[in-house]
Subunit: 331 residues, 2 copies
């Protein structure tokens, strides 16, 4: 069945039967002019939106529709995680051309719903529109965080430790594998990381509860770019220890196979969706002491300095300025 035969109301009906949220916070889901959500005393509402455009952000020749649905929601959940929050619900705007079959729409919705189920974020509304060519997907997520506890980009202080929640490089290795049609042993892990990123909500919440986090951002444009974001917003400088940046195993294999330089590769790898954060040094020491019993998502990669000291990478005692590269959408 082609989209044009299904009609908008057919599509809405399909969505409604797929997405009927059984969630204590949702008073009304899809089907009316808007969704209704119960408030939660003592919590602030988190509100974020992200758009994926075909042939700019994804390529349907190697992206399965269900992965696209997963990713469209997941990247928004990553923003909620980066605020230290929990998701409540999402709305989806799906702009698709007639080339999408109803099977494609179903697969997309299944990926969306799988992600929503995994992270307790039901789909409560949306809009379906026809676009002439390239599809465009916008997901908007409402979430919440304890009042006054949100992790912003502005709170880093000299003396804080700079950390990431997990090893990096998988997303870029996955993308290069998909586009280069080359494979390596255990490459599936990198590909899966690129196609179905896992938002670090659990890790973020553990860190919020642990305390001492002064700023946080998710790594969507690449580590170096996000470090620059935090430093600019917090008006601080930063020393990054090149050898402490954790590189994912399958990314390491890919880097070796392609004879690439591991550090630039990892610094510029976008769409990682690990979290980059700063933490008071005493809190970091407490975290480290707890070891694997505590928050496992803690890899220290640097120290926050005064703004006047600049932002640089240190390797074998040598310092080189760290540029804000990463992936700019309007390049």
């Amino acid at each position: 069945v082609r989209l044009s035969d299904m009609g908008e109301f057919g599509l809405i009906h399909r969505f409604r039967s797929l997405f009927s949220p059984q969630h204590s916070r949702i008073n009304l889901g899809i089907g009316d002019d808007a969704a209704l959500i119960k408030p939660h005393e003592g919590w602030e509402t988190v509100f974020t939106t992200d758009t994926l455009v075909e042939s700019v952000h994804y390529d349907l020749s190697y992206t399965p529709y269900d992965a696209l649905g997963w990713k469209a929601l997941s990247i928004n959940l990553s923003d909620v995680a980066a605020m230290g929050g929990l998701p409540i619900c999402a709305v989806v705007s799906l702009g698709i051309s007639d080339s999408w079959t109803s099977k494609a729409v179903d697969n997309f919705c299944q990926g969306l719903q799988a992600c929503g189920h995994s992270f307790q974020c039901p789909i409560v509304g949306g809009d379906t529109v026809r676009v002439p060519r390239d599809s465009v997907i916008t997901v908007t997520v409402m979430g919440e965080v304890e009042s006054g506890q949100a992790l912003r980009r502005t709170g880093a202080q000299p003396g804080d430790c700079l950390c990431v929640t997990g090893p990096l490089g998988n997303a870029r290795a996955g993308l290069e594998m998909l586009t280069g049609h080359i494979n390596i042993p255990a490459g599936d892990q990198a590909i899966s990381h690129f196609l179905r990123p896992v938002p670090r909500i659990q890790e973020s919440r553990k860190l919020v509860k642990h305390g001492g986090i002064t700023s946080m951002i998710d790594i969507s444009d690449g580590l170096s770019s996000e470090i620059h974001h935090i430093c600019r917003e917090s008006d601080v400088g930063c020393r990054v220890f090149a050898d402490r940046i954790p590189v994912a195993c399958s990314a390491e294999r890919w880097i070796e196979a392609g004879k690439q330089m591991p550090i630039p590769f990892v610094l510029e790898s976008g769409e990682e969706y690990e979290l980059l954060y700063t933490i008071h040094s005493e809190s970091y020491q407490k975290l480290e002491a707890e070891g694997s019993q505590g928050v496992s998502a803690c890899y220290k990669i640097g120290d926050i300095l005064e703004a006047s000291e600049g932002i640089f990478l240190e390797k074998d005692g040598k310092q080189t300025p760290l540029n804000s590269k990463g992936w700019e959408h309007f390049h």
Copy 2:
């Protein structure tokens, strides 16, 4: 300045300086991973999204950029109004091609902001992406309504009165004038209604406070289509008095000039953004008795019947079935 010279961060910086919300409910606006909003005890959150696609929903040859910004927000505020709610804030996803100059982006933002100012709905976040050709704009609005007071589509009961908040036909007359390049006296009003629709938030809130409203929907696809929505969702029938449907003055002039049939013209006119609602007959009588001192946005156009009686139009004592025409996006 072309978009490609501005870069994404240039654009974000521009947005941030334009949209710095001074609003007691917004704890954090544009510039972090998500916005933060203060909760409001005793109110439910309203959540809605709507997308406009170039060459499907708008044509830049006759739509000024500021009108586009106004409309993108306004149609979402109309959905909040249709729930009986008040807006809190909005996020905007702007997918634009390199053909947009920075002046175009500025004008778009000014229209967006003018609408936000008019209806107390600050822009608190968003995403900017490059699209290969046709621009795509998704706005998502968060609003609120007193817990349990939302006006859904499901509550209409036989015996209720069917009403609209204002005269219809302006939007279609305005669109035909713009595309036909013909003008009539006072045509500006119709064109303005089409390009810069006014969400009926004030009217909706007055009706909520008056009480007795059993269902509500906004007229985006055309009156006949929305009547069918309410009847289907509430499982009722309806008698519509053809002569009681209020026709806007400039629409009337346009209809006369074009020798068109007024009732079909008005029944099928989409993008009106007046509200269609049902109200207990006693509450309606109370409204009527208050006259212009009370809620002025009350034009009774029909009666709700049992579902078995069907949905029909009555004129000069004759009944004809009312089809659900209106404007389907996937036609």
